[in-house]
């Protein structure tokens, strides 16, 4: 049993993964020393699979997505590990080679649909540019394809709307255009970073069901980064919970939601208000996420954890098998088996 390092083969994924991230580490050099924003994480996404990545602000989930599409903003840099797309390493590719992969093999959707579209070009220009860059089509055929794409995302009167500018669309319609753009070259992997956060709940439901439908039709795998557990529950097959730049727990979505194994996941699930049952008080995790300048030693969650024991501040736990998931928690180490595994009831309310 490996204790300190995550197993090199990422967890719970079918072999022949589409995307594989091994021991990824992202650093930000600053005047006051190096900040480690993502610390040694490994996971994989199979073809057509939807992996949800959840966590609170500053957990490193968006950075992980940015690193995969090669859009990490300097001075942030990949300081270790590797990223493989269909078995080919992509984290060390030159700029031009990465440019050809972006859009063609990996599509991206970002939170704010207004900033991901160029306000000076019509949506048609932007779609046709993407299509002709990646696919061998004439301008006329590309326009036909652009109209088809807009129609498939449910935009009414696409042959007219294609000549409109982004500001002439509402927020929900803009996000549909962004989805059409991301899927224009039929990528095998889609990185969706908070795709519904800027939208109202009624529009959010429309966008999520559209995203699910299109990805199922095209067999596109999705890495869905969000802080909204409800969106994950509906959409994802597996989910990775991130905390302070590390994966706290990863497993099938229903197991992580109904039988969370890591004390942080237990607290996180309890703190979400639900309709199912009346609760006078929500479970609360005291304290807040550590700043990157002061990540606690050993397990980063130990100062907030009600189950922490002497080993937690000393050694960092790797991902250990826990139920049908994997959790980075010493409670799941056979050596500390006499301690009870955390349950929802064990966390003080």
């Amino acid at each position: 049993m490996t204790l300190t390092a995550a197993p090199p083969r990422a967890v719970g994924s079918p072999s022949g993964s589409l995307l594989e991230v091994r021991n990824l580490r992202i650093e930000f050099p600053t005047r006051r020393g190096t900040l480690v924003a993502v610390d040694d994480i490994s996971f994989a996404i199979g073809p057509g699979e939807v992996l949800g990545v959840v966590g609170e602000s500053g957990a490193g989930k968006s950075l992980t997505g940015a690193a995969i599409i090669g859009l990490l903003e300097p001075p942030g840099r990949i300081a270790g590990g590797e990223i493989l797309l269909a078995g080919r390493r992509i984290d060390n590719l030159p700029y031009d080679a990465m440019r050809r992969i972006r859009g063609r093999e990996i599509g991206a959707i970002f939170q704010d649909p207004l900033t991901s579209l160029n306000p000076l070009y019509t949506v048609g220009d932007q779609l046709i540019e993407t299509i002709t860059t990646h696919l061998d089509l004439s301008a006329g055929k590309a326009r036909t394809r652009a109209i088809e794409l807009l129609a498939s995302t449910g935009i009414p009167a696409p042959d007219r709307r294609i000549d409109h500018y982004p500001h002439q669309f509402s927020g929900g319609m803009r996000q549909r255009v962004v989805i059409a753009l991301a899927l224009a070259a039929e990528p095998k992997l889609l990185i969706a970073d908070e795709p519904t956060t800027a939208l109202d709940v009624s529009i959010q439901a429309q966008i999520i069901s559209l995203l699910k439908k299109l990805c199922r039709d095209h067999g596109t795998a999705v890495m869905l980064v969000t802080h909204d557990m409800g969106v994950i529950a509906e959409t994802a097959d597996r989910v990775a919970v991130m905390y302070a730049g590390r994966i706290a727990e990863i497993g099938p979505v229903s197991d992580v939601i109904h039988r969370p194994q890591h004390p942080y996941t237990v607290g996180l699930m309890g703190s979400i208000p639900t309709f199912g049952h009346e609760k006078e008080r929500l479970t609360q995790i005291n304290g807040s996420m550590p700043r990157l300048t002061a990540i606690p030693s050993g397990c980063a969650f130990h100062p907030r954890c009600v189950h922490a024991f002497d080993r937690c501040p000393r050694e960092r736990p790797g991902l250990l098998p826990a139920g049908s998931s994997m959790a980075a928690c010493w409670l799941h180490d056979p050596a500390s088996a006499r301690r009870a595994a955390p349950q929802a009831s064990a966390v003080s309310a």
Partner: protein, 350 residues
């Protein structure tokens, strides 16, 4: 059984029935968003009046939490700002303890302003970054001239910090030294400084992460119990509203379309818009219930549809809905009593 129930609830229920502390009567707020005069003359553009809030009435009883929910642009934040006097209503009246809110700016109304305070959405924008915590929290005390003695002020600041579960030692720090959740506690401490009875909370947790949101919601409930506070809670998050409210009002394009007690509204929603909103919530329980996306989008509030403003998105709309504006009426039904503004509910079609 019923006797026991009655005894337990009589203190809150029977006194509350008479004790309405806030009453909004048909309030409206219109904003003039017309293009500049020259454009109107040269380009023949029309004047444009935005009806942000258009005839909203409700009452809030002492010690209860009324929530207003709705999508962006439905006017819920405008209602909040009207209630604390940050906007003056275009028409309609707001009564606070039986006195008109317009008195607030007169000498007689000073006492009124101390009794209502507001908590804002963004804890990063609502605290002055160049002031120390002690000055931020003491500002309302100084503004109202409540305490002259410096030691008294310091003691009150310490007490307030402890009430929001922070340490008195934090008072020498600056806002940037706190996390988002701690800052929102500072906002709450500042709002509590004048011992208010009524707090208007405009999306107090929507800028926070879920675990921190839970801390703030728990704190707000504890404070309500300890001090008998009354809340108007504005949110777009139905799960949060379900957790914190006693009564809930659903807003759509400047009007309340449904108003009922929390259990009635969530168990037996009457208005088609409320039903759609509830159906659209992501299901954490994964009970296999298919989520029904709401069709269409919120129309442009500058040019709202005629009749019931929800009719273009409503599956039950008929000719009457497209012409006649429905009024908010009280209905008794199996699930309790509900105020709803819907012709379909009135005619028994829905």
């Amino acid at each position: 059984m019923s006797a026991v129930l009655r005894e337990n609830t009589s203190t809150t229920w029977e006194t509350a029935a008479q004790d309405v502390i806030v009453r909004a009567e048909n309030i409206a707020k219109y904003f003039d968003v017309s293009p500049p005069w020259l454009n109107r003359v040269l380009e023949r553009q029309q004047r444009a009046i935005l009806h942000a809030v258009d005839g909203v009435s409700f009452e809030i009883k002492r010690g209860e939490t009324l929530s207003l929910v709705g999508e962006s642009g439905c006017g819920k934040s405008t209602v909040a700002r009207l209630l604390v006097g940050l906007y003056t209503p275009t028409h309609g009246r707001i009564n606070f303890f039986g006195r008109d809110l317009r008195e607030m700016n007169s000498a007689r109304g000073r006492g009124l302003r101390q009794k209502l305070q507001m908590i804002f959405q963004d804890p990063y924008a609502s605290l002055n970054p160049r002031w120390r915590v002690a000055d931020i929290i003491a500002e309302p005390l100084n503004a109202h001239g409540l305490m002259k003695d410096k030691h008294q002020v310091t003691a009150r600041v310490d007490e307030l910090l402890q009430q929001v579960r922070l340490a008195p030692a934090d008072k020498t720090k600056y806002p940037h030294q706190f996390s988002g959740g701690q800052r929102q506690r500072l906002s709450i401490a500042r709002a509590l400084a004048t011992k208010p009875e009524f707090l208007v909370c405009d999306e107090p947790t929507s800028a926070l992460d879920v675990s921190v949101q839970a801390q703030v919601l728990n704190l707000m409930k504890d404070l309500q119990r300890e001090m008998g506070l009354t809340y108007l809670f504005i949110s777009h998050n139905l799960a949060v509203v379900h957790h914190i409210s006693d009564r809930v009002g659903v807003m759509y394009l400047g009007k309340i379309v449904e108003l009922a007690s929390r259990t009635t509204l969530f168990n037996t929603p009457r208005h088609p818009y409320t039903r759609m909103l509830l159906d659209a919530i992501p299901d954490l329980e994964m009970s296999g219930r298919a989520r029904t996306p709401v069709a269409g989008e919120v129309p442009n509030p500058l040019n709202p549809p005629s009749g019931c403003t929800f009719n273009p998105r409503c599956p039950y709309a008929n000719d009457r809905c497209r012409v006649e504006v429905p009024l908010l009426k009280l209905y008794q039904h199996a699930g309790g009593e509900t105020q709803a503004a819907c012709h379909g509910v009135e005619e028994g079609r829905i």
